[in-house]
């Protein structure tokens, strides 16, 4: 498990990659306007603020207005990026996001910062576990949960070149790099990071790194796990999911979010439609994530690589039982 958690002195977390990539986007896209709701030092947008003061709009602590103004700027031909914590994007400004932005398919790119469990010790109010479910349910909105710094950078560049609204998660957490510097992100395409025959571990966001760790643990027991990274949560790579399951026959999903409505459900929906198979879901199980140390919280909510490995064994046992029954 990654021990290099982002803290105030760390510089390798996904939110730092966000700040660096935002500057790149500012140089490349003249029409990008960034809107901030009094969080730019936390979301790492300060570099953009300094470099492009004319395209940095402070709206104060007013998330409904943040999303409404982003809609208005997009209607005038700008690509707007309303930025706040995932919790407030998914909860506070949902109506504005749905009707002012998603319904008219406006060019608004929404970073959901501080998503999931790693938010320092802010507690249940800020640990946003529902955004994947909420955002996935909005028509016209594409949803991504990048798994590493290079992945986030690729997601952001692709998002800018994708017409319409996009939601992508930015995590206050550092994981080892999964991809090379030339990595490209394509909507609806998953990435097989490790091939295996016994069980498929589907990860999204930082949990993909946990899946790779779990696969190592399983390998030591002779279990050959396939690891697939699904940064594009919506649309999801239906073909790859079915292909992998037709080989392995069972799966575990892992997400830095609630087990309701996010990656676990997205994968299960595909399998229910096309290739019924046992799936174990790793994620927050219908609980608010209260204050605590980050690793402590991952352990408390049974979301560590060891938990993923345990879920894989369970999925494998169910696969066997199913074959016996047939």
């Amino acid at each position: 498990m990654a021990e290099n958690n982002d803290n105030e002195s760390g510089d390798a977390s996904l939110r730092d990659a966000f700040g660096h990539t935002l500057l790149e986007l500012g140089h490349r896209h003249d029409n990008l306007i960034f809107l901030d709701a009094d969080l730019h030092t936390s979301t790492k947008a300060t570099g953009f603020k300094k470099r492009f003061p004319d395209r940095f709009v402070q709206v104060g602590i007013a998330e409904q207005n943040l999303f409404g103004m982003a809609a208005g700027l997009a209607l005038e031909g700008f690509t707007s990026m309303p930025s706040t914590f995932a919790a407030f994007a998914a909860r506070r400004a949902l109506d504005q996001l749905a009707i002012s932005i998603c319904f008219p398919k406006l060019n608004v790119k929404i970073p959901g910062s501080y998503c999931g469990i790693p938010t320092s010790r802010a507690g249940a109010s800020h640990n946003c576990i529902e955004d994947l479910a909420v955002m996935r349910s909005l028509p016209n909105l594409l949803v991504a949960d990048p798994g590493s710094n290079a992945d986030l950078r690729a997601v952001m560049h692709t998002a800018m070149n994708t017409p319409g609204p996009v939601y992508f998660r930015v995590t206050r957490y550092a994981v080892p790099e999964l991809f090379g510097p030339d990595h490209e992100f394509v909507w609806g395409r998953g990435e097989t990071l490790r091939e295996g025959a016994d069980v498929t571990l589907f990860g999204t966001g930082i949990m993909t790194w946990f899946c790779l760790d779990a696969a190592d643990q399983l390998a030591r027991e002779g279990i050959d796990a396939e690891v697939i990274h699904l940064a594009s949560v919506k649309p999801i790579d239906r073909t790859l999911i079915v292909q992998s399951l037709s080989k392995t026959g069972c799966a575990v999903t892992a997400e830095n979010a609630s087990i309701y409505g996010g990656l676990g459900d997205a994968v299960s929906e595909v399998l229910t439609d096309e290739w019924p198979a046992p799936v174990q879901r790793i994620g927050v199980r219908d609980k608010f994530v209260e204050s605590g140390g980050i690793d402590e919280l991952f352990a408390r909510h049974l979301m560590t690589p060891t938990d993923i490995a345990k879920a894989a064994r369970l999925a494998l046992s169910r696969k066997v039982r199913r074959e016996v029954l047939i």
Binding site: G60, G72, L73, L75, P104
Partner: protein, 302 residues
């Protein structure tokens, strides 16, 4: 500046037509908001036929004035104004609330001339603020953004977030118009949630305030003229237009029971005849009751 009597006559006719077409589409679709559509008929008539820079042939003209209808349930009146102004064929009003037709609440894909999508109350002013800021960033000094709000929706916190930001950014190219028709869905504003002292609230948020009779065409035109030429000095402008909900049909006037209510065909016919009499035009009933209408709409005019 005052309207000439010819201008007054022309605008009065457009306001009358906006009421007629609104009622036609509400009766035909059996859904919609008569009260809030009728209360802003004069406001939209003056905006669309006198004040705003628009070209129906070029709905995306960069130098056009923009209008955001924040009280998006008043969509029939806006669709009517756009149809009358030539943005779409008049027959299209009979697609109101039909799939691929005119959406129940204003939607950008419904018709040319609709600038945004709305419905949930209190959201439009933020969008207008974003547009006004966007115009500034594009260095477009000609276009203005009008935002028509309802009085009831000013209960929403989002309105005041937007008001605060418009003043903060000195958006004097933004003109909010409140259709202050005194009634909400289930009662009067003062009974459900008081908004007074209303003008003082806007002033305290850094806006310039004009208060007018929203059914007086000359007063509406003068206020908009004032907003255009005299007022811009770094502050956004709000015109509080005192109106009567359901203005033009006696049983609907000041009657929140006609906030959302679609009349049956016979009632619609009687209401339309009453509107004709009230505004002094030859009596005309509900077109759906005529054979010619049925031919036009159902058989493509053959």
């Amino acid at each position: 500046m005052h309207l000439s009597s010819q201008q007054q006559q022309d605008l009065a006719f457009q306001a009358y037509q906006i009421r007629r077409l609104s009622l036609e589409m509400i009766a035909f679709s059996q859904w919609g908001h008569i009260g809030g559509s009728f209360s802003m008929a004069e406001l939209l008539a003056v905006l669309y036929f006198h004040e705003m820079t628009l070209d129906p042939q070029r709905p995306h003209l960069p130098t056009r004035d923009r209008l955001i209808l924040s009280k998006a349930h008043g969509s029939p009146a806006l669709y009517a104004a756009l149809a009358l102004r030539g943005f779409m064929p008049t027959e299209r009003i009979y697609t109101y609330c039909e799939p691929d037709g005119l959406e129940g609440h204003t939607h950008i894909d419904s018709a040319p001339g609709i600038e945004n999508s709305g419905g949930p109350l209190g959201m439009g002013l933020s969008v207008a603020v974003g547009m006004a800021m966007g115009l500034r960033k594009k260095e477009n000094p000609r276009s203005r953004v009008f935002c028509v709000l309802g009085d009831g929706e000013c209960n929403e916190g989002n309105v005041w977030e937007a008001a605060m930001s418009a003043a903060h950014y000195h958006l004097d190219n933004l003109i909010a118009i409140v259709d202050y028709n005194k009634a909400m869905a289930k009662g009067f504003v003062w009974d459900l949630m008081s908004i007074e002292p209303f003008a003082d609230k806007w002033r305290a948020f850094g806006w310039q305030v004009l208060e007018i009779d929203g059914h007086d065409l000359d007063a509406v035109a003068s206020a908009l003229h004032q907003a255009r030429w005299l007022m811009p000095n770094g502050k956004p402008i709000v015109i509080i237009a005192h109106t009567v909900k359901g203005k033009g049909i006696e049983q609907a006037e000041f009657n929140y029971k006609w906030h959302t209510h679609a009349p049956d065909p016979d009632t619609a016919d009687a209401m339309l005849r009453e509107v004709s009499r009230t505004y002094g035009y030859p009596e005309e009933g509900y077109s759906r009751l005529t054979k010619q209408f049925q031919k036009d709409v159902f058989y493509g005019g053959e």
